[in-house]
Amino acid sequence: MARLEVNIGALKMKNPVMTASGTFGYGLEFQDFVDLKGIGGIIVKGTTLKPREGNDYPRMAETPQGMLNCVGLQNKGVDYFCEHIYPQLLPTEGNYIVNVSGSSPEDYAECAARVDALEHIPAIELNISCPNVKDGGMAFGVTCAGAASVVKAVRKAYHKTLIVKLSPNVTDITEIARAVEAEGADSVSLINTLMGMAVNIEKRCKTLSIGTGGLSGPCVKPVALRMVYQVAKAVKIPVIGLGGISTAEDAIEFLMCGARAVEIGTANFLDPAVTIKVRDGINDWLDKHGVADVNDIVGAIQ
Protein backbone atom coordinates (compact mmCIF):
# COMPACT_ATOMS: atom_id res chain seq x y z
CA MET A 1 0.00 0.00 0.00
CA ALA A 2 1.71 3.16 -1.19
CA ARG A 3 1.31 6.49 0.56
CA LEU A 4 -1.28 8.46 -1.42
CA GLU A 5 -1.73 11.62 0.69
CA VAL A 6 -1.04 14.89 -1.10
CA ASN A 7 -1.25 18.52 -0.03
CA ILE A 8 -2.43 21.46 -2.08
CA GLY A 9 -1.36 24.40 0.04
CA ALA A 10 -3.09 23.86 3.38
CA LEU A 11 -5.59 21.51 1.78
CA LYS A 12 -4.88 17.95 2.82
CA MET A 13 -6.18 15.10 0.72
CA LYS A 14 -6.16 11.34 1.32
CA ASN A 15 -5.20 10.76 -2.28
CA PRO A 16 -4.63 12.80 -5.46
CA VAL A 17 -7.96 11.95 -7.09
CA MET A 18 -10.54 14.74 -7.24
CA THR A 19 -13.75 15.25 -9.19
CA ALA A 20 -14.06 18.05 -11.73
CA SER A 21 -16.74 20.65 -11.16
CA GLY A 22 -19.95 20.08 -13.08
CA THR A 23 -19.36 16.39 -13.65
CA PHE A 24 -20.12 14.97 -10.22
CA GLY A 25 -23.07 17.05 -9.04
CA TYR A 26 -22.73 17.46 -5.27
CA GLY A 27 -21.41 13.94 -4.93
CA LEU A 28 -24.78 12.84 -3.56
CA GLU A 29 -25.84 11.67 -7.03
CA PHE A 30 -22.98 9.15 -6.96
CA GLN A 31 -23.39 7.77 -3.44
CA ASP A 32 -24.79 4.46 -4.70
CA PHE A 33 -21.62 3.87 -6.71
CA VAL A 34 -18.71 5.20 -4.68
CA ASP A 35 -17.77 5.85 -1.06
CA LEU A 36 -17.47 9.64 -1.13
CA LYS A 37 -15.01 9.54 1.79
CA GLY A 38 -12.58 7.67 -0.45
CA ILE A 39 -12.21 10.47 -2.98
CA GLY A 40 -9.34 12.92 -2.40
CA GLY A 41 -11.45 15.98 -3.07
CA ILE A 42 -14.94 16.53 -4.42
CA ILE A 43 -15.29 19.77 -6.36
CA VAL A 44 -18.97 20.61 -6.57
CA LYS A 45 -20.94 22.39 -9.26
CA GLY A 46 -20.03 25.94 -10.23
CA THR A 47 -21.63 28.27 -7.69
CA THR A 48 -22.45 31.93 -8.23
CA LEU A 49 -23.60 34.75 -5.95
CA LYS A 50 -27.08 34.77 -7.50
CA PRO A 51 -29.03 31.80 -8.91
CA ARG A 52 -28.56 31.11 -12.62
CA GLU A 53 -30.87 29.18 -14.93
CA GLY A 54 -28.08 28.45 -17.38
CA ASN A 55 -28.45 28.26 -21.15
CA ASP A 56 -31.33 26.83 -23.15
CA TYR A 57 -31.56 23.22 -24.26
CA PRO A 58 -29.83 21.66 -26.21
CA ARG A 59 -26.70 21.90 -24.13
CA MET A 60 -24.77 18.83 -25.21
CA ALA A 61 -23.29 17.26 -28.33
CA GLU A 62 -21.40 14.00 -28.51
CA THR A 63 -18.07 14.17 -30.36
CA PRO A 64 -15.42 11.59 -31.20
CA GLN A 65 -13.99 10.55 -27.81
CA GLY A 66 -15.60 13.47 -26.09
CA MET A 67 -18.50 15.84 -25.73
CA LEU A 68 -19.37 19.51 -25.95
CA ASN A 69 -21.48 21.23 -23.33
CA CYS A 70 -22.89 24.69 -22.89
CA VAL A 71 -24.70 24.30 -19.57
CA GLY A 72 -23.85 27.87 -18.60
CA LEU A 73 -23.38 27.64 -14.83
CA GLN A 74 -26.89 26.60 -13.87
CA ASN A 75 -27.03 26.69 -10.08
CA LYS A 76 -29.21 27.94 -7.26
CA GLY A 77 -26.75 30.45 -5.90
CA VAL A 78 -24.36 30.45 -2.97
CA ASP A 79 -26.95 31.15 -0.29
CA TYR A 80 -29.01 28.16 -1.37
CA PHE A 81 -25.83 26.10 -1.31
CA CYS A 82 -24.94 27.21 2.21
CA GLU A 83 -28.44 26.70 3.62
CA HIS A 84 -29.73 23.64 1.81
CA ILE A 85 -26.93 21.68 0.17
CA TYR A 86 -24.01 22.07 2.59
CA PRO A 87 -25.92 20.41 5.47
CA GLN A 88 -26.62 17.43 3.20
CA LEU A 89 -22.93 17.06 2.41
CA LEU A 90 -21.68 16.87 5.99
CA PRO A 91 -22.93 13.35 6.83
CA THR A 92 -21.10 11.92 3.80
CA GLU A 93 -17.74 12.99 5.33
CA GLY A 94 -16.49 13.88 1.86
CA ASN A 95 -13.72 16.42 1.36
CA TYR A 96 -15.72 19.11 -0.44
CA ILE A 97 -14.38 22.04 -2.42
CA VAL A 98 -16.68 24.66 -3.91
CA ASN A 99 -16.17 25.88 -7.45
CA VAL A 100 -16.92 29.62 -7.45
CA SER A 101 -17.84 31.69 -10.49
CA GLY A 102 -19.03 35.22 -11.10
CA SER A 103 -19.41 38.12 -13.47
CA SER A 104 -17.32 40.74 -11.67
CA PRO A 105 -14.42 40.64 -9.19
CA GLU A 106 -16.85 41.86 -6.50
CA ASP A 107 -19.26 39.00 -7.29
CA TYR A 108 -16.51 36.44 -7.01
CA ALA A 109 -15.26 37.91 -3.76
CA GLU A 110 -18.71 38.06 -2.16
CA CYS A 111 -19.47 34.47 -3.18
CA ALA A 112 -16.08 33.30 -1.89
CA ALA A 113 -16.59 35.14 1.42
CA ARG A 114 -19.83 33.23 2.02
CA VAL A 115 -18.11 29.91 1.35
CA ASP A 116 -15.25 31.00 3.63
CA ALA A 117 -17.71 30.90 6.51
CA LEU A 118 -18.44 27.19 5.99
CA GLU A 119 -16.31 25.30 8.49
CA HIS A 120 -16.03 22.06 6.58
CA ILE A 121 -15.17 23.47 3.17
CA PRO A 122 -11.35 23.69 3.20
CA ALA A 123 -10.88 25.20 -0.27
CA ILE A 124 -12.47 26.84 -3.26
CA GLU A 125 -11.70 26.53 -6.94
CA LEU A 126 -12.12 29.81 -8.75
CA ASN A 127 -13.62 29.36 -12.18
CA ILE A 128 -12.20 32.11 -14.38
CA SER A 129 -12.48 29.93 -17.42
CA CYS A 130 -16.09 28.98 -18.16
CA PRO A 131 -16.50 29.30 -21.92
CA ASN A 132 -20.29 29.23 -21.79
CA VAL A 133 -21.39 32.49 -20.22
CA LYS A 134 -21.13 35.85 -21.87
CA ASP A 135 -20.84 38.13 -18.89
CA GLY A 136 -17.85 36.75 -17.09
CA GLY A 137 -16.15 33.48 -16.51
CA MET A 138 -13.71 33.14 -19.33
CA ALA A 139 -13.59 36.88 -19.98
CA PHE A 140 -11.40 37.13 -16.87
CA GLY A 141 -9.39 34.04 -17.53
CA VAL A 142 -8.03 34.95 -20.93
CA THR A 143 -5.96 37.98 -19.93
CA CYS A 144 -3.35 38.30 -17.21
CA ALA A 145 -4.91 41.53 -15.97
CA GLY A 146 -8.40 40.04 -15.83
CA ALA A 147 -7.27 36.91 -14.04
CA ALA A 148 -5.18 38.93 -11.59
CA SER A 149 -8.07 41.29 -10.79
CA VAL A 150 -10.38 38.43 -9.79
CA VAL A 151 -7.76 36.60 -7.74
CA LYS A 152 -6.75 39.83 -5.99
CA ALA A 153 -10.35 40.55 -4.97
CA VAL A 154 -11.02 36.98 -3.83
CA ARG A 155 -7.72 36.66 -1.96
CA LYS A 156 -8.81 39.49 0.35
CA ALA A 157 -12.16 37.83 1.05
CA TYR A 158 -11.10 34.19 1.25
CA HIS A 159 -8.69 32.81 3.79
CA LYS A 160 -8.43 29.11 3.04
CA THR A 161 -6.91 27.26 0.10
CA LEU A 162 -7.54 29.10 -3.15
CA ILE A 163 -7.28 27.09 -6.35
CA VAL A 164 -7.67 28.94 -9.65
CA LYS A 165 -8.99 27.00 -12.64
CA LEU A 166 -7.38 28.10 -15.87
CA SER A 167 -8.73 28.31 -19.39
CA PRO A 168 -6.88 26.58 -22.22
CA ASN A 169 -8.39 29.05 -24.68
CA VAL A 170 -5.40 31.38 -24.48
CA THR A 171 -2.18 31.98 -26.36
CA ASP A 172 0.12 31.24 -23.42
CA ILE A 173 -1.39 29.59 -20.36
CA THR A 174 1.85 29.95 -18.36
CA GLU A 175 1.48 33.75 -18.31
CA ILE A 176 -1.97 33.50 -16.77
CA ALA A 177 -0.70 30.92 -14.26
CA ARG A 178 2.10 33.26 -13.20
CA ALA A 179 -0.31 36.19 -12.92
CA VAL A 180 -2.63 34.35 -10.52
CA GLU A 181 0.30 32.98 -8.54
CA ALA A 182 1.56 36.54 -8.07
CA GLU A 183 -1.82 37.54 -6.61
CA GLY A 184 -1.71 34.83 -3.99
CA ALA A 185 -3.38 31.78 -5.50
CA ASP A 186 -2.40 28.63 -3.60
CA SER A 187 -2.78 26.37 -6.62
CA VAL A 188 -3.87 26.31 -10.24
CA SER A 189 -6.02 23.63 -11.85
CA LEU A 190 -6.06 23.08 -15.60
CA ILE A 191 -7.51 22.68 -18.10
CA ASN A 192 -11.09 23.83 -18.27
CA THR A 193 -12.89 22.85 -21.49
CA LEU A 194 -11.64 23.81 -24.93
CA MET A 195 -14.07 25.98 -26.82
CA GLY A 196 -15.63 24.09 -29.70
CA MET A 197 -18.64 23.85 -31.96
CA ALA A 198 -20.91 21.28 -33.60
CA VAL A 199 -23.36 21.61 -36.49
CA ASN A 200 -26.30 19.64 -37.83
CA ILE A 201 -25.85 19.44 -41.60
CA GLU A 202 -29.39 18.16 -42.29
CA LYS A 203 -31.03 21.05 -40.46
CA ARG A 204 -28.20 23.42 -41.42
CA CYS A 205 -28.01 24.76 -37.90
CA LYS A 206 -25.76 24.85 -34.86
CA THR A 207 -26.25 21.84 -32.59
CA LEU A 208 -25.92 23.71 -29.28
CA SER A 209 -28.35 26.41 -28.18
CA ILE A 210 -25.68 29.08 -27.95
CA GLY A 211 -23.68 27.80 -30.90
CA THR A 212 -20.45 26.99 -29.09
CA GLY A 213 -19.57 24.83 -26.11
CA GLY A 214 -16.72 23.42 -24.07
CA LEU A 215 -15.03 20.26 -25.30
CA SER A 216 -14.09 17.59 -22.76
CA GLY A 217 -13.26 13.90 -22.65
CA PRO A 218 -10.31 11.77 -23.76
CA CYS A 219 -9.94 13.82 -26.96
CA VAL A 220 -8.56 16.80 -25.00
CA LYS A 221 -6.04 14.83 -22.95
CA PRO A 222 -2.89 15.49 -25.03
CA VAL A 223 -3.59 19.23 -24.99
CA ALA A 224 -4.22 19.18 -21.24
CA LEU A 225 -1.08 17.17 -20.57
CA ARG A 226 1.08 19.58 -22.56
CA MET A 227 -0.35 22.58 -20.69
CA VAL A 228 0.06 20.96 -17.28
CA TYR A 229 3.67 20.18 -18.13
CA GLN A 230 4.31 23.79 -19.16
CA VAL A 231 2.55 25.36 -16.18
CA ALA A 232 4.21 23.04 -13.65
CA LYS A 233 7.55 24.35 -14.87
CA ALA A 234 6.40 27.97 -14.80
CA VAL A 235 5.00 28.26 -11.25
CA LYS A 236 6.05 27.22 -7.76
CA ILE A 237 2.53 26.56 -6.42
CA PRO A 238 1.05 23.06 -6.81
CA VAL A 239 -0.71 22.25 -10.06
CA ILE A 240 -3.85 20.16 -10.37
CA GLY A 241 -4.18 18.44 -13.73
CA LEU A 242 -7.37 17.58 -15.55
CA GLY A 243 -8.60 16.96 -19.06
CA GLY A 244 -9.68 13.59 -20.39
CA ILE A 245 -8.51 11.44 -17.49
CA SER A 246 -10.37 8.14 -17.32
CA THR A 247 -7.83 5.61 -16.09
CA ALA A 248 -5.10 5.37 -13.46
CA GLU A 249 -2.52 5.41 -16.26
CA ASP A 250 -3.94 8.72 -17.53
CA ALA A 251 -3.72 10.14 -14.01
CA ILE A 252 -0.10 8.98 -13.62
CA GLU A 253 0.82 10.73 -16.88
CA PHE A 254 -0.44 14.01 -15.40
CA LEU A 255 1.37 13.41 -12.10
CA MET A 256 4.62 12.69 -13.93
CA CYS A 257 4.16 15.89 -15.94
CA GLY A 258 4.07 17.87 -12.71
CA ALA A 259 0.52 17.69 -11.36
CA ARG A 260 0.27 17.19 -7.59
CA ALA A 261 -3.32 15.96 -7.94
CA VAL A 262 -5.79 15.25 -10.74
CA GLU A 263 -9.46 15.88 -11.39
CA ILE A 264 -11.71 13.41 -13.16
CA GLY A 265 -14.54 14.92 -15.15
CA THR A 266 -16.38 13.56 -18.15
CA ALA A 267 -15.30 10.00 -17.32
CA ASN A 268 -17.79 10.08 -14.42
CA PHE A 269 -20.58 10.02 -17.01
CA LEU A 270 -19.27 6.82 -18.58
CA ASP A 271 -18.46 5.04 -15.34
CA PRO A 272 -19.94 6.54 -12.16
CA ALA A 273 -17.43 4.54 -10.10
CA VAL A 274 -14.36 5.67 -12.06
CA THR A 275 -12.87 7.87 -9.31
CA ILE A 276 -12.31 5.00 -6.89
CA LYS A 277 -10.98 2.80 -9.70
CA VAL A 278 -8.42 5.46 -10.62
CA ARG A 279 -7.40 5.84 -6.97
CA ASP A 280 -6.93 2.10 -6.57
CA GLY A 281 -5.19 1.87 -9.91
CA ILE A 282 -2.66 4.52 -8.93
CA ASN A 283 -1.94 2.61 -5.73
CA ASP A 284 -1.49 -0.66 -7.62
CA TRP A 285 0.84 0.97 -10.12
CA LEU A 286 2.97 2.47 -7.36
CA ASP A 287 3.15 -0.87 -5.54
CA LYS A 288 4.04 -2.71 -8.71
CA HIS A 289 6.84 -0.25 -9.46
CA GLY A 290 8.16 -0.14 -5.91
CA VAL A 291 7.25 3.51 -5.33
CA ALA A 292 6.37 4.16 -1.69
CA ASP A 293 4.84 7.62 -2.03
CA VAL A 294 2.78 9.11 -4.84
CA ASN A 295 4.57 12.42 -4.35
CA ASP A 296 7.74 10.74 -5.60
CA ILE A 297 6.43 10.52 -9.15
CA VAL A 298 5.18 14.11 -9.33
CA GLY A 299 7.20 15.88 -12.00
CA ALA A 300 9.19 12.73 -12.81
CA ILE A 301 9.22 13.72 -16.46
CA GLN A 302 11.66 16.57 -16.92
Partner: protein
Protein backbone atom coordinates in the same frame (compact mmCIF):
# COMPACT_ATOMS: atom_id res chain seq x y z
CA UNK B 1 -34.26 3.66 -5.28
CA UNK B 2 -30.75 2.37 -5.11
CA UNK B 3 -28.87 2.49 -8.39
CA UNK B 4 -26.45 -0.13 -9.63
CA UNK B 5 -23.74 -0.63 -12.23
CA UNK B 6 -24.27 -4.17 -13.50
CA UNK B 7 -22.73 -6.34 -16.18
CA UNK B 8 -25.87 -8.06 -17.38
CA UNK B 9 -25.79 -11.11 -19.63
CA UNK B 10 -27.55 -11.02 -22.97
CA UNK B 11 -30.03 -13.89 -23.12
CA UNK B 12 -31.35 -13.06 -26.59
CA UNK B 13 -31.45 -10.35 -29.22
CA UNK B 14 -34.58 -10.59 -31.30
CA UNK B 15 -35.13 -8.48 -34.38
CA UNK B 16 -38.77 -7.48 -34.04
CA UNK B 17 -38.71 -5.06 -36.96
CA UNK B 18 -36.22 -3.78 -39.53
CA UNK B 19 -35.46 -0.87 -37.21
CA UNK B 20 -35.98 -2.41 -33.76
CA UNK B 21 -34.45 -5.16 -31.67
CA UNK B 22 -35.66 -6.61 -28.39
CA UNK B 23 -32.74 -7.36 -26.06
CA UNK B 24 -33.41 -9.66 -23.11
CA UNK B 25 -30.91 -9.43 -20.25
CA UNK B 26 -30.39 -11.40 -17.09
CA UNK B 27 -27.91 -12.07 -14.31
CA UNK B 28 -27.23 -14.66 -11.63
CA UNK B 29 -28.68 -12.59 -8.79
CA UNK B 30 -32.20 -11.23 -8.77
CA UNK B 31 -32.47 -8.02 -10.77
CA UNK B 32 -32.94 -4.90 -8.63
CA UNK B 33 -36.41 -3.32 -8.30
CA UNK B 34 -37.36 -1.12 -11.27
CA UNK B 35 -40.51 0.78 -12.15
CA UNK B 36 -42.13 1.34 -15.55
CA UNK B 37 -40.94 4.57 -17.15
CA UNK B 38 -37.49 4.35 -15.57
CA UNK B 39 -34.51 3.82 -17.85
CA UNK B 40 -31.11 2.21 -18.14
CA UNK B 41 -27.87 3.86 -19.30
CA UNK B 42 -26.08 1.23 -21.35
CA UNK B 43 -22.43 1.32 -22.31
CA UNK B 44 -21.84 0.58 -25.97
CA UNK B 45 -18.63 -1.37 -26.43
CA UNK B 46 -17.06 -1.78 -29.85
CA UNK B 47 -18.34 1.36 -31.54
CA UNK B 48 -15.56 3.89 -32.02
CA UNK B 49 -17.94 6.74 -32.74
CA UNK B 50 -20.08 6.13 -29.65
CA UNK B 51 -18.65 7.95 -26.65
CA UNK B 52 -21.52 8.35 -24.19
CA UNK B 53 -23.81 5.72 -22.73
CA UNK B 54 -27.22 5.34 -24.38
CA UNK B 55 -30.37 5.85 -22.32
CA UNK B 56 -32.88 3.07 -23.06
CA UNK B 57 -36.26 2.81 -21.36
CA UNK B 58 -37.25 -0.31 -19.49
CA UNK B 59 -39.59 -2.27 -21.76
CA UNK B 60 -40.44 -5.11 -19.43
CA UNK B 61 -39.25 -6.92 -16.33
CA UNK B 62 -40.04 -10.60 -16.18
CA UNK B 63 -39.56 -11.44 -12.53
CA UNK B 64 -40.09 -15.18 -12.96
CA UNK B 65 -37.39 -15.46 -15.61
CA UNK B 66 -35.29 -12.71 -13.96
CA UNK B 67 -35.19 -10.84 -17.27
CA UNK B 68 -34.95 -7.18 -18.18
CA UNK B 69 -36.18 -6.34 -21.68
CA UNK B 70 -34.95 -3.36 -23.68
CA UNK B 71 -36.65 -2.42 -26.94
CA UNK B 72 -34.03 -0.58 -28.95
CA UNK B 73 -34.59 1.51 -32.07
CA UNK B 74 -31.49 1.14 -34.24
CA UNK B 75 -31.10 4.75 -35.27
CA UNK B 76 -27.37 5.45 -35.05
CA UNK B 77 -24.00 3.75 -34.72
CA UNK B 78 -24.42 3.13 -30.99
CA UNK B 79 -27.78 1.41 -31.15
CA UNK B 80 -26.79 -0.51 -34.31
CA UNK B 81 -23.82 -1.88 -32.37
CA UNK B 82 -26.13 -2.93 -29.55
CA UNK B 83 -28.29 -4.78 -32.06
CA UNK B 84 -25.29 -6.91 -33.08
CA UNK B 85 -24.86 -8.39 -29.60
CA UNK B 86 -25.12 -12.13 -29.20
CA UNK B 87 -26.49 -14.39 -26.52
CA UNK B 88 -23.93 -14.64 -23.71
CA UNK B 89 -22.42 -11.18 -24.33
CA UNK B 90 -22.22 -8.75 -21.41
CA UNK B 91 -23.94 -5.38 -21.41
CA UNK B 92 -22.80 -2.86 -18.80
CA UNK B 93 -25.87 -1.07 -17.43
CA UNK B 94 -26.43 1.72 -14.90
CA UNK B 95 -29.93 1.25 -13.50
CA UNK B 96 -32.63 1.99 -12.58
CA UNK B 97 -32.61 5.71 -13.41
CA UNK B 98 -35.22 8.45 -13.22
CA UNK B 99 -38.80 8.41 -12.01
CA UNK B 100 -41.43 6.22 -13.60
CA UNK B 101 -45.12 6.56 -14.34
CA UNK B 102 -47.64 6.91 -11.54
CA UNK B 103 -49.22 3.67 -10.50
CA UNK B 104 -52.37 4.20 -8.46
CA UNK B 105 -51.95 2.48 -5.12
CA UNK B 106 -54.32 -0.14 -3.88
CA UNK B 107 -56.65 -2.09 -6.12
CA UNK B 108 -58.63 0.55 -7.94
CA UNK B 109 -61.02 -1.67 -9.87
CA UNK B 110 -62.71 0.12 -12.69
CA UNK B 111 -60.17 2.96 -12.86
CA UNK B 112 -59.93 3.57 -16.61
CA UNK B 113 -56.53 4.44 -18.00
CA UNK B 114 -55.37 5.16 -21.53
CA UNK B 115 -51.78 4.25 -22.37
CA UNK B 116 -50.84 5.93 -25.64
CA UNK B 117 -47.63 5.21 -27.51
CA UNK B 118 -46.00 5.85 -30.84
CA UNK B 119 -42.90 4.38 -32.45
CA UNK B 120 -40.33 3.12 -29.95
CA UNK B 121 -42.31 5.09 -27.36
CA UNK B 122 -44.51 2.06 -26.88
CA UNK B 123 -41.58 0.43 -25.04
CA UNK B 124 -42.26 1.48 -21.41
CA UNK B 125 -46.01 0.96 -21.75
CA UNK B 126 -45.70 -2.83 -21.72
CA UNK B 127 -44.32 -3.15 -18.19
CA UNK B 128 -46.56 -0.28 -17.12
CA UNK B 129 -49.59 -2.18 -18.45
CA UNK B 130 -48.64 -5.28 -16.52
CA UNK B 131 -48.34 -3.47 -13.21
CA UNK B 132 -51.50 -1.43 -13.76
CA UNK B 133 -53.42 -4.59 -14.56
CA UNK B 134 -52.24 -6.08 -11.27
CA UNK B 135 -53.79 -3.06 -9.56
CA UNK B 136 -57.11 -3.80 -11.22
CA UNK B 137 -56.94 -0.89 -13.62
CA UNK B 138 -59.02 -1.10 -16.81
CA UNK B 139 -56.39 -0.50 -19.49
CA UNK B 140 -56.74 0.67 -23.07
CA UNK B 141 -53.53 0.76 -25.12
CA UNK B 142 -53.69 3.17 -28.03
CA UNK B 143 -50.68 2.51 -30.25
CA UNK B 144 -49.81 4.45 -33.35
CA UNK B 145 -47.43 3.70 -36.21
CA UNK B 146 -46.79 4.53 -39.84
CA UNK B 147 -48.21 1.23 -41.09
CA UNK B 148 -49.23 -2.22 -39.82
CA UNK B 149 -45.72 -3.62 -40.03
CA UNK B 150 -44.44 -0.86 -37.75
CA UNK B 151 -46.64 -1.83 -34.81
CA UNK B 152 -44.48 -3.58 -32.26
CA UNK B 153 -45.18 -6.33 -29.73
CA UNK B 154 -48.98 -6.23 -30.16
CA UNK B 155 -49.48 -9.74 -28.79
CA UNK B 156 -47.59 -8.79 -25.64
CA UNK B 157 -49.78 -5.73 -25.08
CA UNK B 158 -52.93 -7.81 -25.54
CA UNK B 159 -52.05 -9.76 -22.38
CA UNK B 160 -52.70 -6.71 -20.23
CA UNK B 161 -55.52 -4.76 -21.83
CA UNK B 162 -57.56 -3.78 -24.84
CA UNK B 163 -55.33 -2.77 -27.76
CA UNK B 164 -56.45 -0.11 -30.25
CA UNK B 165 -54.23 0.99 -33.10
CA UNK B 166 -53.93 3.75 -35.63
CA UNK B 167 -51.77 3.70 -38.74
CA UNK B 168 -50.95 6.65 -40.95
CA UNK B 169 -51.62 4.62 -44.11
CA UNK B 170 -54.71 2.90 -42.75
CA UNK B 171 -53.22 -0.57 -43.14
CA UNK B 172 -54.36 -1.52 -39.65
CA UNK B 173 -56.81 -0.05 -37.16
CA UNK B 174 -58.08 3.45 -37.75
CA UNK B 175 -56.30 5.69 -40.24
CA UNK B 176 -54.44 8.71 -38.89
CA UNK B 177 -52.61 9.63 -35.70
CA UNK B 178 -53.47 8.35 -32.23
CA UNK B 179 -55.27 11.60 -31.47
CA UNK B 180 -57.60 10.94 -34.42
CA UNK B 181 -58.86 7.65 -32.93
CA UNK B 182 -62.60 7.57 -32.35
CA UNK B 183 -62.21 6.10 -28.87
CA UNK B 184 -61.11 9.50 -27.62
CA UNK B 185 -64.52 10.93 -28.54
CA UNK B 186 -66.63 7.94 -27.54
CA UNK B 187 -65.17 7.03 -24.19
CA UNK B 188 -63.78 8.77 -21.15
CA UNK B 189 -60.67 7.98 -19.12
CA UNK B 190 -59.50 8.75 -15.61
CA UNK B 191 -55.86 9.15 -16.57
CA UNK B 192 -53.63 9.11 -19.66
CA UNK B 193 -49.98 8.08 -19.83
CA UNK B 194 -48.03 8.73 -23.00
CA UNK B 195 -44.69 7.94 -24.55
CA UNK B 196 -43.74 8.71 -28.13
CA UNK B 197 -42.52 11.43 -30.47
CA UNK B 198 -42.84 14.92 -28.99
CA UNK B 199 -45.49 16.17 -31.49
CA UNK B 200 -47.64 13.13 -30.64
CA UNK B 201 -47.22 13.63 -26.88
CA UNK B 202 -48.10 17.31 -27.26
CA UNK B 203 -51.24 16.40 -29.21
CA UNK B 204 -52.35 13.92 -26.56
CA UNK B 205 -51.51 16.44 -23.84
CA UNK B 206 -53.74 18.99 -25.59
CA UNK B 207 -56.60 16.50 -25.64
CA UNK B 208 -56.06 15.71 -21.95
CA UNK B 209 -56.07 19.39 -21.02
CA UNK B 210 -59.29 19.98 -22.95
CA UNK B 211 -60.97 17.05 -21.22
CA UNK B 212 -59.37 17.86 -17.87
CA UNK B 213 -57.80 14.42 -17.56
CA UNK B 214 -54.62 13.76 -15.56
CA UNK B 215 -51.86 13.11 -18.06
CA UNK B 216 -48.24 12.02 -17.79
CA UNK B 217 -45.70 12.06 -20.60
CA UNK B 218 -42.22 10.58 -20.82
CA UNK B 219 -39.59 12.92 -22.25
CA UNK B 220 -36.39 11.85 -23.95
CA UNK B 221 -34.17 14.92 -24.02
CA UNK B 222 -30.60 14.30 -25.08
CA UNK B 223 -28.62 13.35 -22.00
CA UNK B 224 -25.09 12.49 -20.94
CA UNK B 225 -24.83 11.24 -17.35
CA UNK B 226 -28.37 10.07 -16.58
CA UNK B 227 -27.78 10.92 -12.90
CA UNK B 228 -28.59 14.62 -12.62
CA UNK B 229 -24.95 15.66 -12.58
CA UNK B 230 -24.19 17.14 -15.99
CA UNK B 231 -27.36 19.25 -16.35
CA UNK B 232 -27.51 18.67 -20.12
CA UNK B 233 -31.00 17.18 -20.50
CA UNK B 234 -32.90 20.07 -18.97
CA UNK B 235 -36.57 20.85 -19.51
CA UNK B 236 -38.21 24.05 -18.36
CA UNK B 237 -40.96 23.41 -15.86
CA UNK B 238 -43.44 25.66 -14.13
CA UNK B 239 -42.37 27.04 -10.79
CA UNK B 240 -45.91 27.79 -9.64
CA UNK B 241 -47.46 24.69 -11.20
CA UNK B 242 -48.88 21.86 -9.21
CA UNK B 243 -45.66 19.93 -9.03
CA UNK B 244 -46.93 17.10 -6.91
CA UNK B 245 -49.27 14.55 -8.30
CA UNK B 246 -52.10 13.46 -6.08
CA UNK B 247 -51.46 9.82 -6.75
CA UNK B 248 -48.62 8.14 -4.91
CA UNK B 249 -45.81 6.61 -6.89
CA UNK B 250 -45.31 2.91 -6.55
CA UNK B 251 -42.38 0.72 -7.40
CA UNK B 252 -44.62 -1.91 -8.81
CA UNK B 253 -44.81 -4.19 -5.84
CA UNK B 254 -47.59 -1.91 -4.66
CA UNK B 255 -46.06 -2.05 -1.22
CA UNK B 256 -43.30 0.51 -1.26
CA UNK B 257 -43.84 4.14 -1.96
CA UNK B 258 -41.14 5.77 -3.99
CA UNK B 259 -40.23 9.29 -3.07
CA UNK B 260 -39.58 11.56 -5.95
CA UNK B 261 -36.09 12.62 -5.03
CA UNK B 262 -33.32 11.24 -2.93
CA UNK B 263 -32.56 14.43 -1.19
CA UNK B 264 -30.62 16.28 -3.80
CA UNK B 265 -31.38 19.93 -3.97
CA UNK B 266 -31.49 20.10 -7.73
CA UNK B 267 -35.00 18.71 -7.86
CA UNK B 268 -36.40 21.62 -5.91
CA UNK B 269 -37.76 24.40 -8.03
CA UNK B 270 -36.83 27.97 -7.32
CA UNK B 271 -37.24 31.28 -8.99
CA UNK B 272 -34.23 32.76 -10.63
CA UNK B 273 -33.14 36.33 -10.94
CA UNK B 274 -29.66 35.45 -12.07
CA UNK B 275 -30.14 35.76 -15.77
CA UNK B 276 -32.51 36.86 -18.44
CA UNK B 277 -34.69 33.77 -18.61
CA UNK B 278 -38.33 33.83 -17.59
CA UNK B 279 -39.03 33.92 -13.90
CA UNK B 280 -42.02 31.57 -13.90
CA UNK B 281 -40.03 28.59 -15.21
CA UNK B 282 -36.97 26.73 -14.09
CA UNK B 283 -34.74 24.07 -15.61
CA UNK B 284 -34.88 20.57 -14.20
CA UNK B 285 -33.10 17.44 -15.36
CA UNK B 286 -35.21 15.05 -17.40
CA UNK B 287 -32.95 12.20 -16.28
CA UNK B 288 -33.49 12.79 -12.58
CA UNK B 289 -36.73 14.76 -12.17
CA UNK B 290 -38.31 12.86 -15.06
CA UNK B 291 -38.30 11.33 -17.54
CA UNK B 292 -42.02 11.09 -16.66
CA UNK B 293 -43.72 14.42 -16.03
CA UNK B 294 -47.28 15.40 -15.30
CA UNK B 295 -48.20 17.77 -18.15
CA UNK B 296 -49.24 20.40 -15.58
CA UNK B 297 -45.55 20.90 -14.79
CA UNK B 298 -44.52 21.42 -18.41
CA UNK B 299 -44.72 24.65 -20.38
CA UNK B 300 -46.41 22.95 -23.32
CA UNK B 301 -49.17 25.23 -24.54
CA UNK B 302 -49.39 24.47 -28.28
Amino acid sequence: MKKYILDLTVRSVERVHERYVLIKLTQQDALPPMTPGQFVEVRVDGSASTFLRRPISINFVDKEKNELWLLVATVGEGTKTLAKMKSGDKLNCVLPLGNGFTIPCGRIVGHRMLLAGGGVGVAPLLYLGKLLKEQGVDITFLLGARSAKDLLMLSEFEKYGRVLVTTEDGSMGEKGFVTNHSVLQKESFDMIQVCGPTPMMKAVARYAREKDIECEVSLENLMACGLGACLCCVEKVRVDGDASSTVTKSDGDASTTVTKSDGDASSTVTKSDGDASTTEATNVCVCKDGPVFNIKRLLWQD
